[in-house]
């Protein structure tokens, strides 16, 4: 898994590629919390390149979202498709998070 962090005018874009399982999920969590703790007010997580997400990955996302909520930072997800979308739907997270189709839309909102 690799994470590309892109600081933009409207917020920070985190592009996650590869597999987010028990081994790599902590890395995402750390990176995401770093951005949120840095006082960012908007974080967009692009999951287009994510091939697989395990329950540990979901937990990392939940931890990040919870932290964002505490810090008053809005967190949005985009590029959710395929297996990841399936997992999001089944676990009910689709309704919990703000999910938009593309990065552009996320930043336009």
């Amino acid at each position: 898994m690799d994470i590309v962090c892109d600081k933009r005018a409207g917020g920070t874009l985190l592009q996650v590629n590869g597999r987010m399982d028990a081994v790599y999920a902590p890395a995402f969590e750390k990176e995401c919390l770093l951005v949120i703790d840095g006082g960012e007010i908007k974080v967009v997580v692009d999951l287009t390149g994510l091939e697989y997400i395990s329950s540990a990955g979901l937990r990392s996302i939940l931890v990040s979202a919870k932290k964002a909520k505490v810090k008053g930072c809005s967190i949005q997800f985009c590029g959710v498709s395929g297996m990841v979308e399936e997992v999001f739907k089944i676990s009910g997270l689709f309704t919990l998070f703000s999910i938009v189709p593309t990065v552009e839309e996320a930043f336009a909102a």
Binding site: S55, L58, K66, G92
Partner: protein, 654 residues
């Protein structure tokens, strides 16, 4: 003892080898240079000796010449009487011991007109008393002899070739002969010759007296190369240098003979000469006689000094070599001694004795540094082993605790099958396989009342100890809440609220919980984000229970869950599992997938709950092919058989 492969041995042998080579070069150089010098000196000295020998011989001959010349002068006086002539001849012998005999030979009829022969001859009988003889007879017409003819014709004094005198002396001799003349009518007329015989044995004695200690021997060659004097008496007057060269098969001798006969002075190197071996031959002429003196020196004799010097140098070198060998051996041993001690200690350490005594680092050289390094290494290893022992002990403790935890976790799940042999209405079977010692999956089943049977499967996020704790909490809560006869949705909502309260780590659990009324087959169920179970209707294809997409439990307090209802007919099976099944991976990270699960379950139509779970498990094992299990795998199959269908069920399923 020095080891053949040891540094000391190699150092010593290498140094000694090099010094031996250097010594050999020095000795060789010394020998060749001193030999050259000696040979050069010997050449000069030999040539000088040859010359001086020739000169000494010449001088001896010169004395004779002078005497005879003066006698010849006296004889030119007409007034000489016979008596006077005889006295003259006798006096020559008395005054000159080197002269063997002396003749005054007159032309035929010139001294006494009536006498054809007049040649008084005085000689030494056997080298002793002087005797007188008259030469000349019909048998011995002296004026035809060489000693008479040659000076007469050449009109000058000559030395004859050596010859054996049969006239009077009966000796091997050479003769100096001088013509004398008288004035007749203003003309010089030859009157005769006066001679002096020199015995060759006298010449040989002269030569041997002249032989210096440097010379092996001296020899004399006549003008035609005949040996006049030679230590080998057989050669004298019998052989020439040329015939000797022939018989010895020594061509070089012929060349030397030619040069000697030609009257040259010189030196040649003759190898392997008879008697003397490798030799130098110096030669110088005796011009008056046209003879040549040869001077033979043995090279061995000549180089004896050089050889002696060389032997001494070699001996000194040898002693030096031994001293050097001892010194190097001593030094090398001294240097390598601590190394060897260190090796012994290192071997001791290598066999596990870390307390092995290390030699004291007494020197500040490389060996000392090595010893220090070794000490440091030993300390490091000791520390490392201590740490490792502690770590290993800690790890073993944790592992042991985890094994116990595993047993406890498995112990809280119902494991006994068939679980309810007294209830013929249904058949239930479940299996769980954690990826680690402890896992986050759970299942459970129990009667909430007489007719309502509750069964559930859950999956806590993550794996390992945290998940195991969360799983235990969830399982306990579920049991407590479910027994309060709530609807499945209400049960999940209640459990969710309890779990979500103060859940800082955001752990969550997906749950599928169903309660079946075993009398009617009506199933009420709810799902908290759990993957949809499969319904395998009797004699029909399997179908997914439509997902409700409701949130996983433990995240958000107050989440509501819908209770859905369906009816199972006898022979229908409900298959509930965790994502460890569908997300099981092979070595290429390919997922097992829902599709494959569907295919396998469809092949299990008509099988019992246990057979179904086993089939899926086998299919999974085959798919993963030994790849490391990435997630806990839990499966639960609930087959509804209908009320009082024991006989029927037995007929159908067994």
């Amino acid at each position: 003892m020095m080891k053949p492969q040891g540094i000391a041995f190699r150092l010593a042998s290498l140094t000694l080898l090099v010094s031996t080579i250097i010594l050999a070069i020095i000795v060789g150089y010394n020998y060749s240079v001193s030999r050259k010098i000696i040979v050069a000196l010997a050449e000069d000295r030999g040539t000088l000796l040859a010359k001086s020998t020739a000169k000494k011989i010449s001088t001896a001959f010169m004395t004779v010449q002078k005497v005879i010349d003066s006698v010849a002068f006296s004889l030119e006086d007409d007034r000489l009487t016979e008596k006077r002539v005889n006295e003259l001849g006798q006096r020559v012998l008395i005054n000159n011991p080197e002269i063997f005999g002396s003749a005054i030979a007159f032309e035929p009829f010139s001294f006494q007109h009536d006498n054809q022969y007049y040649a008084p001859y005085h000689y030494r009988l056997d080298g002793g008393p002087i005797v007188f003889a008259r030469l000349g007879s019909d048998d011995y017409q002296y004026f035809y002899m060489d000693w008479y003819q040659l000076p007469r014709e050449l009109e000058r004094p000559i030395w004859t070739e050596p010859y054996f005198d049969k006239g009077g002396g009966y000796e091997l001799m050479t003769t100096y002969t001088v013509p004398f003349y008288r004035n007749r009518d203003g003309q010089k007329v030859l009157q005769g010759v006066v001679t002096a015989d020199i015995s060759i044995s006298w010449v040989q004695k002269l030569i041997s007296s002249l032989s210096s200690r440097e010379a092996e021997y001296v020899f004399l060659l006549s003008r035609y190369g005949t040996f006049i004097a030679h230590p080998n008496a057989n050669l004298v007057m019998n052989e020439t240098v040329f015939t000797a060269a022939e018989s010895l098969e020594y061509p070089q001798l012929r060349e030397v003979g030619r040069r000697m006969v030609a009257g040259e002075t010189g030196v040649v190197e003759l190898n392997d000469l008879p008697m003397t071996g490798d030799s130098f031959l110096y030669f110088s002429p005796l011009p008056d006689q046209h003879w040549s003196v040869g001077f033979v020196c043995s090279k061995k004799e000549m180089l004896a000094e050089v050889s002696r010097l060389n032997r001494e140098v070699a001996t000194l070198g040898g002693l030096g070599f031994v001293a050097l060998a001892l010194l190097i051996t001593f030094l090398a041993k001294r240097i390598t001694h601590p190394l060897r001690e260190l090796t012994v200690s290192a071997n001791d350490m290598a066999s596990g004795n870390l307390e092995a005594r290390l030699p004291e680092a007494t020197t500040k050289d490389e060996v000392g540094e090595l010893t220090h390094s070794f000490q440091a290494m030993r300390e490091s290893i000791k520390n490392y082993i201590e740490n490792l022992t502690e770590t290993t002990a800690a790890k073993e403790r944790i592992e042991s605790e985890l094994r116990i935890a595993h047993d406890i976790q498995m112990g809280i799940l119902p494991k006994l099958f068939p679980a309810f042999p007294e209830h013929r209405e249904f058949d239930i079977y479940a299996s769980i396989e954690p990826a680690k010692e402890v896992g986050g999956d759970l299942y459970d089943f129990f009667f909430v009342d007489e007719n309502n049977f509750c069964f559930l499967v859950g999956d806590v996020s993550g794996k390992g100890v945290p998940a195991a704790f969360f799983m235990a909490v969830t399982k306990t809560l579920l049991k407590v809440v479910a027994e309060s006869r709530l609807e499945p949705g209400e049960i999940l909502a209640k459990v969710n609220d309890d779990l979500a309260e103060d859940n800082k780590s955001c752990m969550f659990v997906t749950l599928f919980l169903a309660i079946i009324d075993i009398r009617t087959g009506v199933v009420r169920y709810a799902s908290a984000g759990h993957n949809p179970p499969l319904l395998l209707p009797k004699n029909k294809d399997a179908e997914w229970i439509p997902p409700l997409n409701e949130l996983v439990a433990g995240i958000m307090e107050g989440t509501q869950y819908t209770t859905k209802s369906m009816t199972m007919h006898p022979g229908d099976t409900l298959f509930i599992y965790t994502d460890g099944v569908t997300e099981a991976m092979d070595k290429m990270n390919n997922l097992y997938s829902e599709d494959q699960l569907m295919v396998v379950t469809n092949q299990c139509l008509g099988k019992s709950a246990e057979q179904l779970v086993d089939s899926v498990d086998k299919s999974l094992k085959k798919f993963t092919g030994g790849a490391e299990q990435s997630d806990d795998i839990t499966m639960l199959a609930m087959q509804y058989l209908g009320k009082g269908s024991k006989q029927e069920g037995d007929d159908r399923w067994i």
